[in-house]
Symmetry: C2
Subunit: 71 residues, 2 copies
């Protein structure tokens, strides 16, 4: 089953957003990934649960300001 | 027993180096941490093993260009 999650993440440069992209891309089960440095946002479509995605982003050391299940 | 490890890590901004600092600071058993954005380096004194430190840095999504056990 596919879920959609949205996170507000502090990313200061393309190195920051690239790092978040790298760790999420490596996960098996992520079907869509939209990371915006401009919007400071991370949108994920996946069959993985919310906590798995949250924890993967948290382990990058980036600050997660908000997170929610969109669908 | 205390070990010293050195890593060359690609960090583009203070957000990048801050993220690496955050995840390593959270580890129990890291007694000294020296992260330089200018030198693109991460130096760690810890009683944890090399792989634990390596994997923690790898999970930030930053590129590790080199790593070695100094002492």
């Amino acid at each position: 089953m596919s879920h959609q999650y949205h996170f507000d993440v502090t990313m200061s440069c393309s190195g920051c957003s690239g790092a978040v992209n790298r760790v999420l891309s490596k996960l098996d089960g992520v079907s869509k990934l939209d990371i915006s440095l401009e919007k400071q946002s991370v949108d994920v479509v996946t069959n993985l649960d919310y906590d798995t995605i949250y924890n993967t982003i948290a382990k990058t050391g980036k600050k997660i300001n908000d997170g929610k299940i969109v669908a």
